[in-house]
């Protein structure tokens, strides 16, 4: 069975999974690993607990592949499920010696994962996915300028990409326009 194209839309990946395509499953996990892992981490869970949420979320996805009404909604489904699994873990009685005051305070507050935060994470995921669909030169530019913790100076960026320093501004605008077009396709 031929693996789905890397840029295959979510609905196509879900359909391929339903048809028994394991490569599509792996692609789906890879596509959403950052988003699903970030949800429990933003709620303050440590790495082990976040991994548990991660596994539980994708396990539920696998079990519900056939009942997903709309494969294109898998992103929202995963975020909702990851939140539910995170809250389930947070609601467990914490061992006295491992009490995390910050986590407990958030639970008491009742909003460790407000809708606004989850909406923002989904949008960030969309943006990152759009970056992956850029042409290679544009993707390299965006990664250098925006996705490094410390972007290199312009002359280094220009040298790496083989462009004039003066063209960085126009290149930036063109890349953002391409990203915006890709985001408009992914609704």
């Amino acid at each position: 069975m031929q693996a789905p194209a890397p840029e295959a839309p979510d609905a196509a990946l879900v359909q391929a999974c339903r048809a028994g395509d394991e490569a599509a499953w792996r692609q789906l996990v890879r596509r959403y690993e950052r988003l699903v892992y970030t949800v429990p981490r933003r709620a303050g869970l440590e790495a082990d607990a976040a991994a548990e949420v991660f596994q539980a979320t994708f396990t539920r996805l696998f079990r519900h592949l056939d009942s997903l009404d709309d494969g294109a909604r898998v992103r929202a489904w995963l975020v909702t499920t990851a939140r539910r699994e995170t809250l389930r873990v947070l609601a467990r009685p914490a061992p006295a010696e491992a009490a995390d005051d910050e986590v407990l305070e958030r639970l008491v507050d009742g909003s460790p994962l407000p809708d606004e935060l989850l909406g923002a994470l989904q949008q960030q995921h969309r943006v990152r996915q759009a970056v992956q669909r850029l042409d290679e030169r544009s993707r390299r530019f965006v990664e250098l300028v925006f996705l490094r913790d410390e972007p290199p100076p312009y002359d280094e960026i220009a040298a790496r990409l083989g462009i004039a320093v003066g063209s960085i501004g126009p290149t930036r605008a063109r890349c953002l326009a391409k990203l915006r077009a890709l985001l408009a396709e992914d609704v």
């Binding site: 339903r18 028994g20 996990v29 988003l35 892992y37 991994a51 994708f58 949008q123």
Partner: protein
């Protein structure tokens, strides 16, 4: 959860920078999620209009007594007929309904069980949608040669006729 309107350059740049906060899952966590996969039997493709669905009777119990101790009546009898239609099975139960003909009930079994079922006996016609459990029920179906038609996406399948007669 609605998506925000498409961002301008400043907002898009902000979202790009914020997206650095999307934390990568450790590779061993990703690999473990891969192992969730189990071989799946692909759901059968819905029959196309070009496909001719052939239904056969796989089982017919004839009239059997229902397990109700001490009850002797025609109403306490049931007949079960099992049809095979491609990758689906249709389990049909027939029970007399005193003074009102027969109750036909049952369930469609198999992948993607969405559709409708219709019954026609002489001039009597009913059509029902399968419920969320793919079950169906017809009440007050008169005696006679009963023709059931299964209506799936893209194709209809007429089941072999079943004679509804008194047990």
């Amino acid at each position: 959860m609605t998506l925000p309107p498409e961002p301008d350059d400043a907002e898009l740049e902000r979202q790009l920078r914020d997206s650095r906060g999307l934390e990568a899952a450790p590779e061993h966590v990703i690999q473990r999620a891969f192992t969730i996969w189990q071989p799946r039997r692909p759901a059968a493709a819905p029959p196309s209009l070009l496909q001719r669905l052939v239904a056969v009777i796989g089982f017919d119990s004839g009239w059997t007594a229902l397990p109700a101790a001490g009850v002797r009546s025609a109403a306490a009898r049931q007949r079960q007929v099992l049809f095979t239609i491609g990758s689906h099975d249709l389990d049909l139960r027939i029970r007399p309904q005193p003074g009102e003909g027969f109750v036909l009930s049952g369930q469609l079994l198999g992948p993607d069980v969405r559709g409708e079922l219709s019954v026609q006996v002489a001039g009597h016609h009913q059509r029902v949608a399968l419920d969320t459990l793919a079950e169906f029920r017809f009440d007050a179906v008169p005696a006679g040669e009963c023709r059931l038609v299964l209506h799936l996406a893209g194709a209809d399948c007429e089941l072999p006729p079943v004679l509804l007669d008194a047990p």
